[in-house]
Symmetry: C5
Subunit: 92 residues, 5 copies
């Protein structure tokens, strides 16, 4: 799982029927220091996350489908948690 | 999922029978600002997308197969939506 | 899927029994302009491809296994088509 | 599998129900010489690992789910072993 | 699949029970010219490979699990063949 920040949303009217009702969020991967790194991606929300929040994102089809249940089976990324705190020992 | 632009098509006559009837689209991943990034790839269309459109692409075998149903099971990428609008908060 | 060129073959006598009879091809990913990019990899042929041909390659375990049927289930890449033509609109 | 060091933990109260009870560890991939490389990620612990330990991490949804059993099915990375010793022949 | 060289072994006493009996090998990906490239990873042996040998490695959970059979289901990489010869046409 990656720590990301929710930075936006995407609207798609014409989409695969397996995505109907899914909430498409734009998420930006972060370093452990909270800096953006790499490119943003789209993830389906499973926990009621909002723009600006730090979230846990699974990036893999089977895991994302499991997180979302039946309707989510055509997706490859899902938000599975909202981050409260990160404890980092400062090494490596 | 990645936001991509459809930039072309590929014709393959001699192909695995599981791909018969599949529409092979060339898609280019985009940054959140709409710039091309990285290399293009091939995805099977599941939503009637055309060249020039911004689309949502799943890049993973299980998810792509789910999107396409039975005939799509030998593919690793699929177009699953056409992007109407992207809301981006400008951070990260 | 990626567009690759078949650039060689590999012989392995001592191999997992699930690979018996499989044709191991060395494939080189290409840019949309036909230039080599990144590193070569091994893919199992499912369409009768030969050295020098441009091919479609799935790079994912489930998709590759689906392409090859029962005997191919221990592989993570497969050639699933021979490219006839690529239409590219020149953008992105 | 990758060799990583456990460098922290993450707390998430609002999370997917499939993650309830899971121990979220922050892990940093290492080179064969023990240096940090690339970015940290989150993995679910399946072996009782603690901060500071070198561990084996599977980074793939099916494998991680298998490691964790039923409750772990929505995750894409898992700690599956604690490293005692590494024998490296010094080549490559 | 990637061509790698076996460069070492790893011992892990405290590990997930699905790994009991598995032989953990350190493998280094190679270019087509036999040079090391990228970072080493861990793979489970399924063919009796030894340190120093060039091997075929599947790097994907489903494929690795298939290679190893039942006990291997929590792994994401497996050695599935020992390379005898590589024929490379020298292009690309």
């Amino acid at each position: 799982m990656q720590i990301c920040r929710v930075v936006g949303t995407v609207v798609s009217t014409q989409k695969n029927r397996k995505l109907h009702g899914a909430k498409l969020m734009l998420v930006q991967p972060l370093t452990l220091d909270g800096e953006a790194r790499g490119v943003g991606l789209l993830a389906i929300d499973s926990v009621g996350a909002g723009v600006g929040e730090r979230v846990l994102v699974v990036i893999e089809g089977k895991a994302a489908g499991d997180a979302l249940g039946r309707k989510g089976t055509a997706v490859d990324a899902a938000i599975i948690g909202i981050v409260d705190t990160i404890e980092h020992d400062g090494t490596a």
